[in-house]
């Protein structure tokens, strides 16, 4: 039985209707095929973008849909219900636009955001490195202040050059723009002595066009799931970035990254709920049809209770996620709640998808049914955008501070 939703407005109800219509026709028929072929559905993102579904939580003035997270997350859920990799992709795109929206200057927002949210462009988020995943502050990628025209007098106007290697980039090689985090020299010392120029001034956030010279996209990782969505390393070889593409202040990057992750985690939680709902629905449909000992297997209490636990996990994960979203929509702190939602929803998705395979029995273990794919897809959700151990770290630190 599909999700029964409480939506705040008629507008939201119509939006969810549109999403069901588009995803049924554009995502559902292709998900299994493209996942098996590791084929990225770029056109599907264009269709979602043209319908206005890639910029929902941003304000209408900059070209967004002006929707609260409570609604945006339920849209994500419906997308992930048809195709988890596309749900993850939309969440990553939104997270890639977030730093510019929240920390960009009014001029930057007016100039760049409308095109990022118009639907034709797709974003990616470059934070992790091979040795800096859970600990992003340990990143090695550097942005140096580019030697500019001395006559100009202002070093910041000369822009930056980024060097290093980012890892685990969703949409690596297929995105149109990259939100990149790199170490920068201290702002105060810029333009002084050569030694001061390299003094560490923390991490900064940049917006880099995919067509910029010096970007080196590695072949996609061979992943367990979400195989339709390429995840790559990206080499930055002295990549020039104009000063106007520095997002927020120099040295503010880690704050920006962690703030974006708080919202991004809500997105991942919603994707996990959508995936879990799908696994539940498929399992229930199978259990109603498949008969043993003269009755449908759902009528055997052992299996009925398994399905009941799955339903309880899905609904409580959704409730936890939307409760965190409502705090965000009300302007309340939600970092702890977002981590709890990510932890609860992704663990629920893992458990529910694994149990769905169990309900389908031998059939569930074959690749003829998508149940095994759901299970492979759920696993990474416990890992990315902060492992669930990191979520516990965030939660416990909040508790210690309280």
């Amino acid at each position: 039985m599909p999700a029964e939703r409480l939506l705040p407005t008629d507008e939201a109800r119509e939006l969810l209707g549109l999403v069901a219509d588009i995803t049924d026709q554009e995502l559902e028929p292709r998900a299994s095929i493209d996942e098996a072929a590791s084929q990225f559905p770029r056109k599907a993102f264009t269709v979602l973008g043209r319908a206005g579904l890639l910029g929902l939580p941003f304000s209408e003035e900059v070209g967004g849909g002006g929707q609260p997270y409570e609604v945006y997350l339920q849209v994500l859920e419906e997308i992930a219900y048809r195709w988890a990799a596309v749900g993850v992709g939309v969440s990553v795109h939104v997270m890639s636009c977030f730093p510019l929206d929240r920390f960009g200057s009014p001029a930057q927002r007016a100039e760049l955001l409308p095109s990022l949210l118009a639907g034709d462009l797709l974003g990616a988020y470059c934070l992790s490195e091979s040795h800096a995943g859970s600990d992003p502050a340990a990143m090695m990628t550097r942005a140096t202040v580019a030697p500019g025209d001395p006559a100009a007098g202002d070093a910041a106007d000369a822009g930056f050059r980024i060097s290093g290697t980012k890892a685990w980039v969703t949409h690596g090689g297929v995105a149109d723009f990259y939100t990149v985090f790199a170490r920068t020299p201290s702002a105060a010392s810029a333009g002084d002595t050569p030694a001061a120029k390299t003094a560490d001034g923390g991490i900064s956030c940049f917006l880099v066009d995919a067509g910029t010279s010096g970007l080196d996209f590695y072949p996609p990782e061979h992943k367990m799931g979400l195989t339709a969505s390429p995840t790559t390393q990206i080499g930055f070889n002295d990549v020039p970035v104009p000063a106007a593409r520095l997002v927020g202040a120099r040295g503010q990057g880690l704050t920006i990254a962690l703030t974006a992750l708080d919202s991004g985690r809500l997105g991942i939680a919603a994707v996990a709920v959508g995936l879990a709902q799908r696994a539940l629905d498929d399992a229930v449909a199978y259990a109603q049809e498949r008969r043993t000992f003269g009755k449908a297997i759902i009528d055997h209490q052992g299996l009925g209770f398994l399905l009941a636990d799955m339903a309880a996990a899905v609904e409580s994960a959704r409730a936890t996620t939307l409760a965190a979203a409502r705090r965000r929509d009300h302007g309340l702190p939600f970092s702890r709640q977002a981590s709890i939602a990510k932890l609860v929803a992704t663990d629920a998705a893992m458990k529910v998808t694994e149990d769905a395979v169990q309900v389908l029995g031998g059939a569930g273990y074959t690749r003829d049914h998508p149940a095994e794919r759901y299970m492979r897809e759920a696993k990474v959700m416990q890992i990315f955008e902060g492992t669930n151990q990191i979520q516990r770290l965030v939660i416990s630190r909040h508790l210690a501070r309280s």
Partner: protein
């Protein structure tokens, strides 16, 4: 270009279609109702012509109150305004009466171009375009798989789908053009389109306001009558041919009797 496109709300394409037991009209209550899928191609083509040449797209439908959902869909795809002819007196109208009513409405809009689908998936009569052209006194071009409008010359040229290719057919404007599904890929409404649709002008007309007399329309005075209806008989089992070395020939023979080869 002032373009009128006709749309119809029909029972969901994949739903089992039934007749209402009381008066043998289409049962709309027990099924989901959607925009006739083929009309989406008509709306899309109207929008493309407008985008190329400027002007306005008006959606016209006749149907019960609920048919406003189909109008909203066309408006959210990008049509500019709509006319909804709705009245209890219209219930049970046949194709002749429907064309009379629609033609009355369309004539008041003075269109340069009227676009229809080839047929609706419920009745599948495929006659509305021709009936409208006749009543409006306009030329009709049918089975268009491509439409080229030349507003300066006042002409419309189409590629008319044929079995082994196409025919180029031209008419002077105004004209009625019927399109086939090959013509384009209809767009989805956008979220912003859905919001904008609510503010677009929608005129709702009853029989009297459309300049019709209730005695001209509706089940009681319909020229065609449904006396009885039977559900589709269950599918016959297929022909089973045992391959005794001549399987290929027998398959070819079977296909030939079905006129497939």
């Amino acid at each position: 270009m002032n373009i009128v496109v006709t749309v119809k709300q029909v029972p969901d394409t994949w739903a089992e279609k039934k007749l209402d037991a009381s008066d043998r009209t289409t049962d709309r209550k027990s099924v989901d109702n959607v925009m006739n899928e083929m009309d989406e191609y008509g709306v899309e083509e109207a929008l493309r012509i407008k985008e190329a040449h400027g002007g306005e797209v008006t959606v016209v439908t006749m149907g019960p109150q609920k048919a406003v959902e189909t109008i909203r869909k066309a408006l959210s795809m990008g049509a500019d305004k709509a006319v909804h002819l709705t009245d209890d007196a219209l219930h049970g109208s046949d194709a002749l009466q429907t064309s009379k009513a629609l033609a009355k409405v369309i004539a008041t809009l003075s269109p340069d171009l009227v676009i229809t689908a080839t047929e609706a998936s419920d009745a599948r009569g495929g006659v509305m375009g021709a009936l409208l052209a006749e009543r409006l006194g306009l030329p009709q071009l049918t089975l268009a798989r491509k439409v080229t409008v030349d507003p300066a010359a006042g002409t419309v040229q189409i590629e008319r789908q044929a079995d082994n290719g196409y025919a180029l057919v031209e008419a002077s404007l105004p004209a009625v053009v019927g399109v086939v599904e090959k013509i384009n890929e209809p767009r989805y409404p956008s979220f912003k389109g859905i919001m904008a649709a609510k503010k677009k002008p929608l005129t709702t007309l009853g029989v009297g306001e459309a300049g019709l007399d209730a005695s001209e329309v509706g089940l009681a005075s319909a020229g065609s009558k449904v006396d009885d209806a039977e559900p589709r008989p269950p599918r016959q089992s297929g022909t089973i041919v045992k391959d005794e070395g001549d399987g290929g020939a027998k398959i070819a023979e079977f296909l030939a009797t079905q006129k497939l080869i």
